[in-house]
């Protein structure tokens, strides 16, 4: 059996790596509370909690506006992608139809294709439609990218759902539409939540698309706003730190409450496969 010594070593290893993961994050949070304009003192504890950096970032850095844009984009993408992915996942997971394999492989491609591989024509195509520099340019492509994942995710769930559940509902008189929404979706709630959480995170954190598509300041998402803010305040560490905390906060809060979903979703390859 493992001795006490071994166990202690394990804890030391785990703790040190956890500390390494935590230190830079905690450091930036601490820096945000340092007196404005100070050098942040290499992530040391502030003598008292100064909120002035947050106040200044909020007003001067327009973070209220950035957060609002991010929220609009993220909520739209999550809502539409979820709805549409549940439907397509249902079809792939429970119905038989000609071309289902080909269509599914097509969706699979979307899990691998990098945004870098399509952002250029996306920009020119959307510009031709006068959609660049609108929320649409951020929302529509991200729905497209998310439904590839969502379809795959929900299909896997519906495939794993006992067939008899669907059949029982069919015999009970439910049609396809009611089977999906009244029997399967309530049952799938945890899987749906995991999917929503992941899509939310990806959308919230997306940078390249926003950088390419948006030029008006009022449309900047939080990460894009922070990037510009960084450009303007390169040397003001405490102010930058406050901005960074504001940008990361929503996603971290969701993570703290729903971390099981984050982790399960992101490492699910080993579970689903």
């Amino acid at each position: 059996m493992t001795g006490r010594g071994d166990r202690a070593v394990n804890y030391v290893i785990l703790a040190s790596f956890s500390l390494i993961a935590l230190y830079p994050v905690a450091g930036i949070v601490l820096a945000a509370f340092q007196p404005p304009g100070s050098a942040a003192g290499g992530f040391s504890l502030p003598s008292e909690l100064h909120l002035a950096n947050f106040a200044e970032a909020w007003t001067q850095g327009h973070f209220a506006s950035y957060l609002r844009s991010s929220l609009i984009v993220a909520v739209s993408v999550v809502f539409v992608s979820t709805l549409v992915s549940i439907m397509s996942g249902y079809a792939f997971g429970t119905m038989t139809f000609a071309g289902n394999k080909v269509l599914f492989y097509l969706f699979l491609l979307g899990l691998m294709v990098p945004l870098e591989g399509l952002v250029i024509p996306l920009y020119f195509d959307l510009r031709a439609l006068s959609l660049t520099d609108t929320y649409w340019a951020l929302i529509l492509p991200q729905i497209g990218l998310s439904v590839a994942f969502g379809t795959f995710w929900m299909r896997a769930f519906f495939l794993a759902t006992p067939r008899s559940l669907i059949e029982a509902a069919a015999i009970d008189g439910a049609r396809r539409w009611s089977i999906l929404w009244r029997v399967l979706v309530p049952f799938a709630r945890p899987a749906v939540l995991t999917m929503m959480v992941l899509i939310f995170m990806w959308t919230w954190n997306e940078f390249l698309l926003a950088l390419v598509m948006v030029s008006s300041e009022s449309l900047r998402t939080a990460p894009l706003g922070l990037a510009f803010f960084q450009g303007q305040h390169v040397s003001d560490v405490t102010l930058l730190a406050a901005g960074a905390v504001i940008v990361a906060l929503p996603v971290v809060v969701v993570y703290i409450f729903l971390q099981r979903h984050f982790i399960r979703g992101m490492i699910s390859g080993s579970v689903v496969g």
Binding site: P162, S164, L165, E167, A168, A169, A170, I171, D172, G173, A174, R175, S178, R182, V183, P186, F187, R189
Partner: protein, 392 residues
């Protein structure tokens, strides 16, 4: 209430025939059992009836309605699934009510019907629970309740007891029989367990390889099995099967197998059974374990209906004594049902050579003893060695 009728029903999956030309007439209010090993087509037949699979050929009737093209919801049936398939996120009440709500039953009526069904099954106290909070037996009853609540024309049951432990299985079997009789709803019940089939079914359809072998009352199957498969599938322990040759013996016939020879009787004493035509030929012989007796306890059995054997193994289970001995040569006929437990593989060929007799607990036969086994002439079954069809 309705009759159920399979009219040459067939089903192909890919290139494989899952069900071939099934003809079956089930009477109104009857509990009919489809039994057979896996892959026999019994479940396919049930799913065709339910509308969960489309039919490849032939027709299915419920009452006077041909239902081939109707979706499950329009067939007025209810089904109990092997895994129960309860809606996990709904309470018991909502599980029972779901079918009624889908059928747009007035809300006031739903409550009454759910409560009636719950009362019948003793589910009153569980109505607010969710399936995961219930025991296996309770889930099973909810599944029954969900079927019962709609008062359908036909009940379909797909191995409903296979997830229960042995004791609960017997209890629930009785419960199903009671409810079925009480409501008189035509029921089609699928199982792989021949004991379940025989105790529950008014008539039992024995299936194999997608084909119906025989549809008869349990007694009919036991006394007049149509072929080697039915004979070896029905009964526990399974019928002893061996190969022998029919010979003329005086003005009657005798069957010789292994070291034994038993009188069969005169052809004319077995009218219409065509056995005479097999005189002088090889046949397959079947003897049920329970048709054999310790001759010392069955005095008066004539000498030519006894065989002397050496007991190799004695198993005393209290109510019966099982004696194993060398019978006739083993038979590997494709018509034979595989032993459901599959345990004859362990002991290899020897075990298959061995006959088993179910003797009275008074039997004093010990291992190593040479004893006489008495056999009733009527308990001998003969099968055509090529077709497996019972002779007679």
């Amino acid at each position: 209430m309705a009759t159920v009728r399979f009219e040459g029903a067939g089903k192909r999956f890919g290139g494989v025939d899952a069900l071939v030309d099934l003809h079956l007439d089930i009477e109104d209010g009857e509990l009919a059992v489809l039994v057979g090993p896996s892959g026999s087509g019994k479940t396919t037949a049930l799913r065709l009836l339910a509308g969960l699979e489309s039919i490849t050929s032939g027709h299915v009737w419920i009452g006077d309605k041909q239902v081939d093209a109707l979706p499950p919801r329009d067939r007025d049936i209810a089904m109990v699934f092997q895994d129960y398939a309860l809606y996990p996120q709904m309470t018991v009440y909502k599980n029972l009510a779901f079918g009624l709500r889908m059928r747009k039953v007035a809300p006031g009526d739903i409550d009454g019907q759910v409560l009636t069904a719950a009362k019948t099954l003793g589910l009153e106290d569980l109505l607010e629970r969710r399936p995961r909070e219930l025991s296996g037996g309770q889930r099973q009853r909810v599944a029954l309740g969900r079927a019962l609540v709609r008062q359908p024309q036909v009940f379909l049951m797909d191995e409903p007891l296979s997830n229960l432990d042995a004791k609960l299985r017997t209890q629930t079997r009785v419960e199903i029989a009671r409810i079925q009789r009480e409501f008189g709803i035509t029921t089609v019940y699928v199982t792989h367990d021949q004991i379940e089939a025989m105790t529950l079914g008014r008539r039992v359809a024995v299936m194999r390889d997608g084909r119906l072998q025989q549809f008869d009352s349990p007694k009919g199957l036991y006394d007049r099995p149509a072929n080697l498969f039915v004979a070896s599938f029905i009964g526990s322990p399974a019928m002893n099967i061996t190969e022998g040759s029919l010979e003329h013996a005086g003005d009657g016939l005798a069957i010789a197998f292994g070291d034994h020879r038993l009188a069969v009787g005169r052809p004319e004493s077995r009218p219409d059974d065509g056995i005479g035509a097999y005189a002088g030929r090889k046949v397959l012989l079947g003897i049920r374990p329970e048709a054999m007796a310790d001759a010392s306890l069955a005095l008066g059995t004539p000498e030519d209906r006894r065989m002397t054997v050496r007991v190799e193994l004695r198993e005393d289970v209290g109510s019966d004594v099982y004696a194993y001995f060398e019978g006739g040569p083993p038979v590997s006929n494709p018509g034979l049902a595989e032993s459901p437990t599959g345990d004859d593989d362990e002991a290899g060929g020897n075990r298959r050579r061995t006959f088993v007799a179910r003797l009275s607990p008074q039997s004093k036969a010990r291992e190593g003893d040479a004893i006489q086994i008495a056999i009733n002439d009527r308990a001998l079954f003969f099968f055509d060695p090529d077709t497996g069809v019972r002779i007679g």
